[in-house]
Amino acid sequence: MNEVTKTVAHGATQAKSPIFPKLAFWGKIKQQRAAKLSLMVLLLISVIGIIGPWIAPYDPTESNYEAFLQGPSAKHVLGTDAIGRDLFSRILYGTRVTLVVAVMAVGITVAAGTMIGVISAYVGGFIDHLLMRIMDILLALPGIILALAIVAALGPSQTNAMIAIGISSIPSFARLIRAATLVIMSSGYVEASRSIGTPSWWIILFQVLPNITNVLFVYMTLFVGGAILDTAALGFIGLGAQPPTPEWGTMLNEGKDYLSDAWWLATYPGLAITIVVLAVNRLGDALRDIFDPRTQK
Protein backbone atom coordinates (compact mmCIF):
# COMPACT_ATOMS: atom_id res chain seq x y z
CA MET A 1 0.00 0.00 0.00
CA ASN A 2 2.80 2.33 0.83
CA GLU A 3 4.80 1.24 -2.16
CA VAL A 4 3.30 3.76 -4.48
CA THR A 5 5.35 4.30 -7.56
CA LYS A 6 6.40 7.88 -7.39
CA THR A 7 6.32 9.21 -10.84
CA VAL A 8 6.17 12.81 -11.74
CA ALA A 9 4.52 14.30 -14.75
CA HIS A 10 3.72 17.81 -15.71
CA GLY A 11 0.76 19.23 -17.51
CA ALA A 12 0.34 18.82 -21.21
CA THR A 13 0.57 22.39 -22.24
CA GLN A 14 4.11 23.09 -21.29
CA ALA A 15 6.32 24.70 -23.84
CA LYS A 16 9.14 22.32 -24.50
CA SER A 17 11.99 24.75 -24.51
CA PRO A 18 15.23 23.74 -22.91
CA ILE A 19 16.92 26.74 -24.51
CA PHE A 20 14.55 29.29 -23.12
CA PRO A 21 14.26 29.03 -19.36
CA LYS A 22 10.83 29.71 -17.97
CA LEU A 23 10.73 32.80 -15.87
CA ALA A 24 8.83 31.87 -12.75
CA PHE A 25 5.74 33.96 -12.05
CA TRP A 26 6.89 36.42 -14.52
CA GLY A 27 3.42 37.81 -15.15
CA LYS A 28 2.31 39.77 -12.18
CA ILE A 29 5.47 40.38 -10.24
CA LYS A 30 7.18 41.52 -13.39
CA GLN A 31 4.34 43.94 -14.00
CA GLN A 32 4.54 45.40 -10.53
CA ARG A 33 8.26 45.79 -10.84
CA ALA A 34 7.89 47.34 -14.28
CA ALA A 35 5.28 49.71 -12.92
CA LYS A 36 7.58 50.81 -10.10
CA LEU A 37 10.58 51.19 -12.37
CA SER A 38 8.77 53.19 -15.04
CA LEU A 39 7.15 55.32 -12.39
CA MET A 40 10.58 56.13 -11.01
CA VAL A 41 11.94 56.96 -14.45
CA LEU A 42 8.95 59.21 -15.07
CA LEU A 43 9.39 60.97 -11.74
CA LEU A 44 13.01 61.58 -12.59
CA ILE A 45 12.04 62.97 -15.99
CA SER A 46 9.44 65.22 -14.40
CA VAL A 47 11.99 66.51 -11.95
CA ILE A 48 14.30 67.24 -14.87
CA GLY A 49 11.41 68.99 -16.57
CA ILE A 50 10.96 71.19 -13.52
CA ILE A 51 14.54 71.92 -12.54
CA GLY A 52 15.98 71.61 -16.06
CA PRO A 53 16.52 75.35 -16.55
CA TRP A 54 18.62 75.49 -13.37
CA ILE A 55 20.87 72.57 -14.10
CA ALA A 56 21.36 73.31 -17.77
CA PRO A 57 24.94 74.41 -18.40
CA TYR A 58 24.04 76.83 -21.20
CA ASP A 59 21.18 79.01 -22.37
CA PRO A 60 19.29 76.84 -24.87
CA THR A 61 18.60 79.65 -27.31
CA GLU A 62 21.93 81.43 -27.15
CA SER A 63 24.00 80.78 -30.24
CA ASN A 64 27.74 80.49 -30.09
CA TYR A 65 29.36 80.86 -33.46
CA GLU A 66 32.70 79.69 -32.17
CA ALA A 67 31.38 76.27 -31.37
CA PHE A 68 28.95 75.12 -34.04
CA LEU A 69 28.37 71.50 -35.03
CA GLN A 70 30.78 70.28 -32.39
CA GLY A 71 30.61 66.63 -31.45
CA PRO A 72 30.06 65.45 -27.88
CA SER A 73 32.90 66.60 -25.66
CA ALA A 74 33.56 67.46 -22.06
CA LYS A 75 32.47 71.02 -22.67
CA HIS A 76 29.32 70.15 -24.58
CA VAL A 77 28.22 66.75 -23.35
CA LEU A 78 25.98 66.03 -26.31
CA GLY A 79 27.57 68.41 -28.76
CA THR A 80 26.27 71.61 -30.34
CA ASP A 81 24.01 72.42 -33.27
CA ALA A 82 24.47 74.42 -36.45
CA ILE A 83 24.48 77.74 -34.68
CA GLY A 84 26.46 76.54 -31.70
CA ARG A 85 23.64 75.97 -29.19
CA ASP A 86 24.37 73.34 -26.55
CA LEU A 87 22.33 70.22 -27.36
CA PHE A 88 22.28 68.95 -23.77
CA SER A 89 20.80 72.18 -22.47
CA ARG A 90 18.24 72.20 -25.24
CA ILE A 91 17.16 68.67 -24.44
CA LEU A 92 16.84 69.55 -20.75
CA TYR A 93 14.67 72.54 -21.57
CA GLY A 94 12.74 70.51 -24.11
CA THR A 95 11.66 68.04 -21.44
CA ARG A 96 9.36 70.59 -19.95
CA VAL A 97 7.95 71.69 -23.31
CA THR A 98 7.21 68.13 -24.39
CA LEU A 99 5.72 67.05 -21.08
CA VAL A 100 3.54 70.13 -20.73
CA VAL A 101 2.17 69.86 -24.26
CA ALA A 102 1.50 66.13 -23.96
CA VAL A 103 -0.09 66.29 -20.54
CA MET A 104 -2.28 69.26 -21.44
CA ALA A 105 -3.34 67.57 -24.65
CA VAL A 106 -4.29 64.41 -22.78
CA GLY A 107 -6.10 66.60 -20.26
CA ILE A 108 -8.29 67.90 -23.08
CA THR A 109 -8.82 64.35 -24.37
CA VAL A 110 -9.69 62.91 -20.99
CA ALA A 111 -12.05 65.69 -19.96
CA ALA A 112 -14.03 65.65 -23.19
CA GLY A 113 -13.69 61.95 -23.89
CA THR A 114 -14.84 60.85 -20.45
CA MET A 115 -17.81 63.16 -20.55
CA ILE A 116 -18.87 62.01 -23.98
CA GLY A 117 -18.25 58.35 -23.16
CA VAL A 118 -20.11 58.30 -19.86
CA ILE A 119 -23.02 60.36 -21.14
CA SER A 120 -23.29 58.25 -24.24
CA ALA A 121 -23.36 55.02 -22.25
CA TYR A 122 -25.57 56.23 -19.45
CA VAL A 123 -28.19 58.10 -21.43
CA GLY A 124 -28.21 55.72 -24.38
CA GLY A 125 -30.79 55.92 -27.15
CA PHE A 126 -30.66 58.74 -29.63
CA ILE A 127 -27.95 60.77 -27.88
CA ASP A 128 -25.72 57.71 -27.78
CA HIS A 129 -26.31 57.04 -31.45
CA LEU A 130 -25.62 60.62 -32.47
CA LEU A 131 -22.45 60.99 -30.41
CA MET A 132 -21.06 57.68 -31.58
CA ARG A 133 -21.73 58.43 -35.25
CA ILE A 134 -19.84 61.70 -34.88
CA MET A 135 -16.98 59.84 -33.25
CA ASP A 136 -17.06 57.31 -36.12
CA ILE A 137 -16.68 60.09 -38.64
CA LEU A 138 -13.74 61.61 -36.81
CA LEU A 139 -12.16 58.18 -36.47
CA ALA A 140 -12.22 57.79 -40.23
CA LEU A 141 -9.34 60.26 -40.45
CA PRO A 142 -5.98 59.13 -39.11
CA GLY A 143 -5.25 60.93 -35.84
CA ILE A 144 -2.23 62.76 -37.17
CA ILE A 145 -4.17 64.03 -40.19
CA LEU A 146 -6.96 65.26 -37.97
CA ALA A 147 -4.38 67.03 -35.84
CA LEU A 148 -2.72 68.46 -38.95
CA ALA A 149 -6.03 69.68 -40.31
CA ILE A 150 -6.82 71.40 -37.02
CA VAL A 151 -3.36 72.96 -36.88
CA ALA A 152 -3.81 74.06 -40.47
CA ALA A 153 -7.03 75.78 -39.52
CA LEU A 154 -5.68 77.39 -36.36
CA GLY A 155 -2.16 78.11 -37.58
CA PRO A 156 1.04 76.42 -36.40
CA SER A 157 2.02 77.05 -32.80
CA GLN A 158 2.71 75.12 -29.65
CA THR A 159 -0.69 75.86 -28.11
CA ASN A 160 -2.52 74.97 -31.27
CA ALA A 161 -0.58 71.72 -31.56
CA MET A 162 -1.64 70.91 -28.03
CA ILE A 163 -5.29 71.61 -28.80
CA ALA A 164 -5.11 69.70 -32.07
CA ILE A 165 -3.57 66.61 -30.47
CA GLY A 166 -6.03 66.77 -27.61
CA ILE A 167 -9.03 66.98 -29.91
CA SER A 168 -7.80 64.36 -32.35
CA SER A 169 -7.71 61.62 -29.70
CA ILE A 170 -11.13 62.39 -28.23
CA PRO A 171 -13.01 59.92 -30.46
CA SER A 172 -11.01 56.87 -29.54
CA PHE A 173 -10.90 57.81 -25.88
CA ALA A 174 -14.64 58.41 -25.77
CA ARG A 175 -15.31 55.02 -27.32
CA LEU A 176 -13.10 53.24 -24.80
CA ILE A 177 -14.77 54.99 -21.88
CA ARG A 178 -18.20 54.29 -23.31
CA ALA A 179 -17.39 50.60 -23.58
CA ALA A 180 -16.04 50.51 -20.02
CA THR A 181 -19.11 52.29 -18.69
CA LEU A 182 -21.42 49.94 -20.54
CA VAL A 183 -19.74 46.97 -18.89
CA ILE A 184 -20.31 48.48 -15.47
CA MET A 185 -23.87 49.49 -16.35
CA SER A 186 -24.76 45.94 -17.27
CA SER A 187 -23.16 44.48 -14.18
CA GLY A 188 -25.17 42.77 -11.52
CA TYR A 189 -24.45 45.33 -8.85
CA VAL A 190 -25.80 48.27 -10.83
CA GLU A 191 -28.97 46.31 -11.45
CA ALA A 192 -29.13 45.39 -7.79
CA SER A 193 -28.69 49.03 -6.91
CA ARG A 194 -31.47 50.04 -9.25
CA SER A 195 -33.74 47.41 -7.77
CA ILE A 196 -33.33 49.03 -4.37
CA GLY A 197 -34.59 52.30 -5.72
CA THR A 198 -31.30 54.16 -5.73
CA PRO A 199 -31.36 57.46 -7.66
CA SER A 200 -29.34 57.78 -10.88
CA TRP A 201 -26.84 60.31 -9.55
CA TRP A 202 -25.96 57.94 -6.76
CA ILE A 203 -25.44 55.09 -9.20
CA ILE A 204 -23.13 57.18 -11.40
CA LEU A 205 -21.22 58.53 -8.44
CA PHE A 206 -20.79 55.42 -6.32
CA GLN A 207 -21.27 52.50 -8.68
CA VAL A 208 -20.05 53.59 -12.11
CA LEU A 209 -17.27 56.10 -11.45
CA PRO A 210 -15.27 54.16 -8.83
CA ASN A 211 -15.28 51.19 -11.14
CA ILE A 212 -14.08 53.01 -14.23
CA THR A 213 -11.31 54.99 -12.53
CA ASN A 214 -8.87 52.12 -13.01
CA VAL A 215 -9.68 51.91 -16.69
CA LEU A 216 -9.58 55.68 -17.02
CA PHE A 217 -6.19 55.83 -15.40
CA VAL A 218 -4.75 53.13 -17.64
CA TYR A 219 -6.07 54.67 -20.85
CA MET A 220 -4.87 58.08 -19.76
CA THR A 221 -1.35 56.78 -19.29
CA LEU A 222 -1.40 55.00 -22.63
CA PHE A 223 -2.67 58.14 -24.35
CA VAL A 224 0.11 60.27 -22.87
CA GLY A 225 2.66 58.16 -24.76
CA GLY A 226 0.80 58.73 -28.01
CA ALA A 227 0.46 62.44 -27.31
CA ILE A 228 4.22 62.82 -26.78
CA LEU A 229 4.86 61.11 -30.11
CA ASP A 230 2.31 63.31 -31.85
CA THR A 231 3.71 66.47 -30.29
CA ALA A 232 7.16 65.61 -31.52
CA ALA A 233 5.81 64.64 -34.94
CA LEU A 234 4.08 67.98 -35.36
CA GLY A 235 7.23 69.71 -34.26
CA PHE A 236 9.23 67.66 -36.73
CA ILE A 237 6.98 68.64 -39.62
CA GLY A 238 7.28 72.23 -38.53
CA LEU A 239 3.68 72.62 -37.48
CA GLY A 240 4.16 72.36 -33.75
CA ALA A 241 6.33 74.42 -31.47
CA GLN A 242 8.20 76.96 -33.55
CA PRO A 243 11.95 77.53 -33.47
CA PRO A 244 13.83 78.54 -31.45
CA THR A 245 11.71 76.78 -28.80
CA PRO A 246 13.75 73.77 -27.71
CA GLU A 247 11.14 71.14 -28.52
CA TRP A 248 12.48 67.66 -29.26
CA GLY A 249 10.59 67.18 -32.54
CA THR A 250 11.58 70.59 -33.76
CA MET A 251 15.19 69.86 -32.84
CA LEU A 252 15.10 66.66 -34.90
CA ASN A 253 13.73 68.65 -37.80
CA GLU A 254 16.67 71.01 -37.55
CA GLY A 255 19.06 68.10 -37.17
CA LYS A 256 17.86 66.17 -40.20
CA ASP A 257 19.84 68.43 -42.54
CA TYR A 258 23.12 67.46 -40.91
CA LEU A 259 22.85 63.69 -41.03
CA SER A 260 26.26 63.20 -42.54
CA ASP A 261 28.05 65.89 -40.53
CA ALA A 262 26.50 65.80 -37.08
CA TRP A 263 24.92 62.48 -36.20
CA TRP A 264 24.32 63.59 -32.61
CA LEU A 265 21.79 66.21 -33.66
CA ALA A 266 19.45 63.60 -35.09
CA THR A 267 20.16 61.02 -32.42
CA TYR A 268 19.85 62.42 -28.91
CA PRO A 269 16.51 64.23 -29.09
CA GLY A 270 14.97 61.08 -30.58
CA LEU A 271 16.51 58.99 -27.84
CA ALA A 272 15.00 61.32 -25.27
CA ILE A 273 11.56 60.93 -26.85
CA THR A 274 11.90 57.16 -26.98
CA ILE A 275 12.90 56.90 -23.33
CA VAL A 276 10.04 59.04 -22.09
CA VAL A 277 7.46 57.30 -24.29
CA LEU A 278 8.80 53.88 -23.35
CA ALA A 279 8.54 54.68 -19.65
CA VAL A 280 5.00 55.98 -20.04
CA ASN A 281 3.92 53.01 -22.15
CA ARG A 282 5.44 50.49 -19.78
CA LEU A 283 3.65 52.13 -16.91
CA GLY A 284 0.40 52.01 -18.85
CA ASP A 285 0.85 48.35 -19.79
CA ALA A 286 1.78 47.42 -16.26
CA LEU A 287 -1.21 49.26 -14.83
CA ARG A 288 -3.48 47.59 -17.35
CA ASP A 289 -2.23 44.15 -16.46
CA ILE A 290 -2.47 44.85 -12.77
CA PHE A 291 -5.99 46.22 -12.99
CA ASP A 292 -7.23 43.75 -15.58
CA PRO A 293 -9.73 41.52 -13.80
CA ARG A 294 -8.71 38.62 -15.98
CA THR A 295 -5.23 38.59 -14.49
CA GLN A 296 -6.56 38.99 -10.98
CA LYS A 297 -7.22 35.42 -10.03
Binding site: I19, I145, L148, L229, I237, A266, L278
Partner: protein, 312 residues
Amino acid sequence: MKQYLLNRMLSGVIVLLGISIFSFALVHFIPGDPVRIMLGEKATKAQVEQLREQMGLNQPLPHQYLTYIEKVIQGDFGTSLQTERPVIVEIMERFPATVKLAFAGIGIAVVIGLTMGIIAAKYKNTLLDFMLMAAASIGLSLPSFWLGLIIIMLFSVQLGWFPIAGGTGWKDLVLPACTLGVLSSAMISRLTRSGMVEVLSHDYIRTARAKGLRESIILFRHALCNVMIPVVTVVGLQIATLLGGAVIIEQVFNWPGIGTLAIRAISARDIPMIQGIVLLMGFVYVVVNMMVDLLYGLIDPRVDLITEKEGR
Protein backbone atom coordinates in the same frame (compact mmCIF):
# COMPACT_ATOMS: atom_id res chain seq x y z
CA MET B 1 -24.72 37.79 -44.03
CA LYS B 2 -26.18 39.89 -46.83
CA GLN B 3 -28.04 41.86 -44.20
CA TYR B 4 -24.82 42.42 -42.33
CA LEU B 5 -22.97 43.73 -45.39
CA LEU B 6 -25.83 46.02 -46.35
CA ASN B 7 -25.75 47.46 -42.88
CA ARG B 8 -22.04 48.04 -42.99
CA MET B 9 -22.38 49.71 -46.36
CA LEU B 10 -25.05 52.05 -45.07
CA SER B 11 -22.91 53.14 -42.15
CA GLY B 12 -20.05 53.61 -44.59
CA VAL B 13 -22.16 56.04 -46.60
CA ILE B 14 -23.03 57.91 -43.42
CA VAL B 15 -19.37 58.21 -42.49
CA LEU B 16 -18.61 59.51 -45.97
CA LEU B 17 -21.33 62.14 -45.68
CA GLY B 18 -19.92 63.15 -42.31
CA ILE B 19 -16.43 63.42 -43.78
CA SER B 20 -17.70 65.59 -46.59
CA ILE B 21 -19.34 67.92 -44.09
CA PHE B 22 -16.11 68.00 -42.09
CA SER B 23 -13.97 68.78 -45.10
CA PHE B 24 -16.46 71.38 -46.26
CA ALA B 25 -16.51 72.95 -42.83
CA LEU B 26 -12.70 73.16 -42.77
CA VAL B 27 -12.93 76.38 -44.71
CA HIS B 28 -15.19 77.85 -42.10
CA PHE B 29 -13.21 76.66 -39.08
CA ILE B 30 -10.44 79.04 -39.92
CA PRO B 31 -10.60 82.13 -37.77
CA GLY B 32 -10.87 85.23 -39.88
CA ASP B 33 -11.62 85.50 -43.55
CA PRO B 34 -10.60 82.32 -45.36
CA VAL B 35 -10.11 84.10 -48.64
CA ARG B 36 -7.80 86.66 -47.05
CA ILE B 37 -5.75 83.90 -45.49
CA MET B 38 -5.49 81.99 -48.75
CA LEU B 39 -4.42 84.95 -50.75
CA GLY B 40 -2.22 86.55 -48.15
CA GLU B 41 -2.12 90.12 -46.88
CA LYS B 42 -0.98 91.68 -50.10
CA ALA B 43 -3.99 90.72 -52.21
CA THR B 44 -6.13 93.48 -53.58
CA LYS B 45 -9.78 93.84 -52.74
CA ALA B 46 -10.75 92.89 -56.28
CA GLN B 47 -8.72 89.68 -56.12
CA VAL B 48 -10.38 88.76 -52.84
CA GLU B 49 -13.81 89.39 -54.26
CA GLN B 50 -13.01 87.36 -57.31
CA LEU B 51 -11.85 84.32 -55.35
CA ARG B 52 -14.80 84.64 -53.04
CA GLU B 53 -17.10 84.57 -56.03
CA GLN B 54 -15.17 81.69 -57.57
CA MET B 55 -15.42 79.58 -54.39
CA GLY B 56 -19.08 80.47 -53.97
CA LEU B 57 -18.51 81.83 -50.51
CA ASN B 58 -21.19 84.46 -50.98
CA GLN B 59 -23.96 81.88 -51.07
CA PRO B 60 -25.83 80.63 -47.95
CA LEU B 61 -24.08 77.68 -46.24
CA PRO B 62 -26.46 74.82 -47.16
CA HIS B 63 -26.38 75.97 -50.75
CA GLN B 64 -22.59 76.08 -50.69
CA TYR B 65 -22.48 72.57 -49.30
CA LEU B 66 -24.81 71.19 -51.96
CA THR B 67 -22.81 72.76 -54.76
CA TYR B 68 -19.66 71.38 -53.20
CA ILE B 69 -21.08 67.85 -53.03
CA GLU B 70 -22.38 68.12 -56.57
CA LYS B 71 -18.96 69.06 -57.82
CA VAL B 72 -17.25 66.33 -55.82
CA ILE B 73 -19.55 63.70 -57.25
CA GLN B 74 -18.65 64.90 -60.72
CA GLY B 75 -15.00 64.47 -59.82
CA ASP B 76 -14.30 68.17 -59.48
CA PHE B 77 -12.37 68.74 -56.27
CA GLY B 78 -11.43 72.29 -57.11
CA THR B 79 -8.09 73.76 -58.05
CA SER B 80 -4.97 73.76 -55.96
CA LEU B 81 -4.05 77.26 -54.86
CA GLN B 82 -0.34 76.49 -55.02
CA THR B 83 0.01 74.82 -58.39
CA GLU B 84 -3.28 75.97 -59.91
CA ARG B 85 -3.80 72.45 -61.23
CA PRO B 86 -6.92 70.43 -60.49
CA VAL B 87 -6.72 68.80 -57.07
CA ILE B 88 -7.88 65.45 -58.40
CA VAL B 89 -5.00 65.32 -60.87
CA GLU B 90 -2.42 66.10 -58.21
CA ILE B 91 -3.84 63.44 -55.90
CA MET B 92 -4.04 60.79 -58.58
CA GLU B 93 -0.46 61.42 -59.60
CA ARG B 94 0.77 60.68 -56.14
CA PHE B 95 -1.63 57.98 -55.09
CA PRO B 96 0.22 55.04 -56.73
CA ALA B 97 3.39 55.80 -54.78
CA THR B 98 1.46 55.83 -51.53
CA VAL B 99 -0.26 52.54 -52.38
CA LYS B 100 3.09 50.94 -53.12
CA LEU B 101 4.59 52.08 -49.85
CA ALA B 102 1.52 51.17 -47.80
CA PHE B 103 1.30 47.60 -49.07
CA ALA B 104 5.03 46.98 -48.88
CA GLY B 105 5.08 48.28 -45.31
CA ILE B 106 2.03 46.32 -44.18
CA GLY B 107 3.32 43.17 -45.85
CA ILE B 108 6.54 43.36 -43.86
CA ALA B 109 4.62 44.24 -40.70
CA VAL B 110 2.23 41.29 -40.97
CA VAL B 111 4.98 38.77 -41.59
CA ILE B 112 7.17 39.99 -38.74
CA GLY B 113 4.29 40.73 -36.40
CA LEU B 114 2.48 37.41 -36.76
CA THR B 115 5.65 35.39 -36.45
CA MET B 116 6.79 37.26 -33.36
CA GLY B 117 3.36 37.11 -31.77
CA ILE B 118 2.87 33.40 -32.34
CA ILE B 119 6.34 32.52 -31.08
CA ALA B 120 5.95 34.71 -28.02
CA ALA B 121 2.57 33.17 -27.18
CA LYS B 122 3.82 29.67 -27.75
CA TYR B 123 6.76 30.24 -25.41
CA LYS B 124 4.74 32.34 -23.02
CA ASN B 125 6.60 33.60 -19.95
CA THR B 126 10.01 32.47 -21.10
CA LEU B 127 13.04 34.57 -21.77
CA LEU B 128 12.30 34.50 -25.50
CA ASP B 129 8.81 35.86 -24.94
CA PHE B 130 10.25 38.53 -22.69
CA MET B 131 12.77 39.62 -25.30
CA LEU B 132 10.28 39.67 -28.16
CA MET B 133 7.76 41.67 -26.19
CA ALA B 134 10.42 44.06 -24.94
CA ALA B 135 11.35 44.65 -28.57
CA ALA B 136 7.70 45.25 -29.40
CA SER B 137 7.38 47.71 -26.52
CA ILE B 138 10.35 49.65 -27.78
CA GLY B 139 8.93 49.54 -31.29
CA LEU B 140 5.73 51.12 -30.04
CA SER B 141 7.65 53.90 -28.31
CA LEU B 142 9.88 54.87 -31.21
CA PRO B 143 8.99 58.10 -32.96
CA SER B 144 8.54 57.06 -36.59
CA PHE B 145 10.48 60.01 -37.98
CA TRP B 146 13.39 59.38 -35.68
CA LEU B 147 13.59 55.72 -36.65
CA GLY B 148 13.50 56.91 -40.26
CA LEU B 149 16.35 59.33 -39.67
CA ILE B 150 18.46 56.71 -37.90
CA ILE B 151 17.86 54.23 -40.71
CA ILE B 152 18.85 56.81 -43.31
CA MET B 153 21.92 57.70 -41.34
CA LEU B 154 22.93 54.06 -41.04
CA PHE B 155 22.09 52.58 -44.41
CA SER B 156 22.34 55.55 -46.73
CA VAL B 157 24.82 57.93 -45.19
CA GLN B 158 27.21 55.54 -43.45
CA LEU B 159 26.90 52.36 -45.48
CA GLY B 160 25.66 53.90 -48.69
CA TRP B 161 23.56 50.85 -49.56
CA PHE B 162 20.45 52.75 -50.48
CA PRO B 163 19.80 56.16 -51.98
CA ILE B 164 19.08 58.84 -49.41
CA ALA B 165 15.68 59.97 -50.62
CA GLY B 166 13.61 61.26 -53.45
CA GLY B 167 12.92 58.56 -56.05
CA THR B 168 10.19 55.97 -56.38
CA GLY B 169 12.18 52.96 -57.55
CA TRP B 170 12.37 49.72 -55.57
CA LYS B 171 15.66 50.74 -54.00
CA ASP B 172 14.04 53.88 -52.72
CA LEU B 173 11.16 51.81 -51.43
CA VAL B 174 13.20 49.48 -49.21
CA LEU B 175 14.05 51.86 -46.38
CA PRO B 176 10.67 53.57 -45.91
CA ALA B 177 8.84 50.25 -46.25
CA CYS B 178 11.09 48.64 -43.66
CA THR B 179 10.63 51.56 -41.28
CA LEU B 180 6.87 51.30 -41.62
CA GLY B 181 6.98 47.54 -41.32
CA VAL B 182 9.06 47.56 -38.16
CA LEU B 183 6.80 50.12 -36.52
CA SER B 184 3.52 48.43 -37.41
CA SER B 185 4.83 44.97 -36.58
CA ALA B 186 5.24 46.05 -32.96
CA MET B 187 1.52 46.50 -32.55
CA ILE B 188 0.58 43.44 -34.58
CA SER B 189 2.91 41.20 -32.61
CA ARG B 190 1.55 42.37 -29.28
CA LEU B 191 -1.99 41.90 -30.48
CA THR B 192 -1.23 38.45 -31.85
CA ARG B 193 0.45 37.39 -28.64
CA SER B 194 -2.31 38.55 -26.33
CA GLY B 195 -4.97 37.17 -28.67
CA MET B 196 -3.15 33.88 -28.88
CA VAL B 197 -2.67 33.64 -25.13
CA GLU B 198 -6.34 34.35 -24.60
CA VAL B 199 -7.52 31.91 -27.23
CA LEU B 200 -5.23 29.20 -25.91
CA SER B 201 -6.93 29.48 -22.54
CA HIS B 202 -10.37 28.85 -24.03
CA ASP B 203 -12.29 25.67 -23.35
CA TYR B 204 -12.29 24.59 -26.97
CA ILE B 205 -8.51 24.40 -26.97
CA ARG B 206 -8.77 22.05 -24.00
CA THR B 207 -11.28 20.04 -26.05
CA ALA B 208 -8.83 19.92 -28.93
CA ARG B 209 -6.10 18.66 -26.59
CA ALA B 210 -8.48 16.09 -25.13
CA LYS B 211 -9.01 14.84 -28.68
CA GLY B 212 -5.31 14.07 -28.87
CA LEU B 213 -4.54 16.50 -31.66
CA ARG B 214 -0.98 17.53 -32.44
CA GLU B 215 0.19 20.80 -30.99
CA SER B 216 0.77 22.25 -34.46
CA ILE B 217 -2.81 21.56 -35.50
CA ILE B 218 -4.08 23.10 -32.28
CA LEU B 219 -1.94 26.16 -32.81
CA PHE B 220 -2.58 26.77 -36.48
CA ARG B 221 -6.05 25.37 -37.08
CA HIS B 222 -7.80 25.91 -33.78
CA ALA B 223 -6.11 28.95 -32.33
CA LEU B 224 -4.85 31.05 -35.21
CA CYS B 225 -8.24 31.26 -36.96
CA ASN B 226 -9.71 32.82 -33.86
CA VAL B 227 -6.76 35.13 -33.32
CA MET B 228 -7.06 36.44 -36.86
CA ILE B 229 -10.37 38.11 -36.04
CA PRO B 230 -8.90 41.02 -34.05
CA VAL B 231 -5.71 41.03 -36.11
CA VAL B 232 -7.61 41.56 -39.35
CA THR B 233 -9.37 44.55 -37.85
CA VAL B 234 -6.17 46.21 -36.80
CA VAL B 235 -4.33 45.45 -40.02
CA GLY B 236 -7.31 46.86 -41.93
CA LEU B 237 -7.20 50.04 -39.90
CA GLN B 238 -3.47 50.34 -40.50
CA ILE B 239 -3.87 49.91 -44.23
CA ALA B 240 -6.54 52.59 -44.25
CA THR B 241 -4.25 54.92 -42.33
CA LEU B 242 -1.27 54.25 -44.56
CA LEU B 243 -3.23 54.60 -47.78
CA GLY B 244 -4.08 58.07 -46.62
CA GLY B 245 -0.38 58.68 -46.69
CA ALA B 246 2.15 57.58 -44.12
CA VAL B 247 2.44 61.27 -43.49
CA ILE B 248 5.50 61.39 -41.31
CA ILE B 249 7.46 58.59 -42.98
CA GLU B 250 6.82 60.01 -46.42
CA GLN B 251 8.08 63.33 -45.18
CA VAL B 252 11.26 61.84 -43.73
CA PHE B 253 12.12 59.86 -46.85
CA ASN B 254 10.79 62.54 -49.13
CA TRP B 255 8.54 59.93 -50.70
CA PRO B 256 6.33 61.57 -53.34
CA GLY B 257 3.00 60.31 -51.98
CA ILE B 258 -0.19 61.71 -50.52
CA GLY B 259 1.48 62.32 -47.16
CA THR B 260 4.04 64.80 -48.43
CA LEU B 261 1.34 66.40 -50.53
CA ALA B 262 -0.81 66.79 -47.41
CA ILE B 263 1.94 68.41 -45.40
CA ARG B 264 2.78 70.77 -48.20
CA ALA B 265 -0.87 71.70 -48.62
CA ILE B 266 -1.31 72.27 -44.92
CA SER B 267 1.82 74.40 -44.62
CA ALA B 268 0.69 76.46 -47.57
CA ARG B 269 -2.95 76.56 -46.42
CA ASP B 270 -4.00 75.18 -49.74
CA ILE B 271 -7.58 74.66 -48.62
CA PRO B 272 -9.01 72.93 -51.75
CA MET B 273 -6.12 70.50 -51.64
CA ILE B 274 -6.62 69.76 -47.94
CA GLN B 275 -10.30 69.19 -48.56
CA GLY B 276 -9.52 66.82 -51.37
CA ILE B 277 -7.07 64.81 -49.30
CA VAL B 278 -9.45 64.59 -46.35
CA LEU B 279 -12.19 63.31 -48.66
CA LEU B 280 -9.85 60.77 -50.21
CA MET B 281 -8.84 59.50 -46.78
CA GLY B 282 -12.44 59.16 -45.71
CA PHE B 283 -13.22 57.27 -48.88
CA VAL B 284 -10.26 54.94 -48.49
CA TYR B 285 -11.18 54.35 -44.86
CA VAL B 286 -14.73 53.40 -45.74
CA VAL B 287 -13.68 51.11 -48.58
CA VAL B 288 -11.00 49.34 -46.54
CA ASN B 289 -13.41 48.91 -43.66
CA MET B 290 -15.90 47.33 -45.99
CA MET B 291 -13.25 44.86 -47.15
CA VAL B 292 -12.40 44.06 -43.55
CA ASP B 293 -16.06 43.38 -42.84
CA LEU B 294 -16.19 41.12 -45.85
CA LEU B 295 -13.14 39.23 -44.59
CA TYR B 296 -14.76 39.02 -41.18
CA GLY B 297 -17.70 37.29 -42.72
CA LEU B 298 -15.34 34.74 -44.22
CA ILE B 299 -13.31 34.11 -41.06
CA ASP B 300 -15.97 34.27 -38.42
CA PRO B 301 -19.22 32.40 -39.04
CA ARG B 302 -20.86 34.24 -36.15
CA VAL B 303 -21.10 37.68 -37.77
CA ASP B 304 -24.85 37.51 -38.26
CA LEU B 305 -25.17 37.01 -34.53
CA ILE B 306 -22.96 39.97 -33.73
CA THR B 307 -25.22 42.45 -35.46
CA GLU B 308 -28.21 40.91 -33.80
CA LYS B 309 -26.76 41.49 -30.37
CA GLU B 310 -25.68 45.01 -31.14
CA GLY B 311 -29.05 45.98 -32.43
CA ARG B 312 -30.87 44.84 -29.39
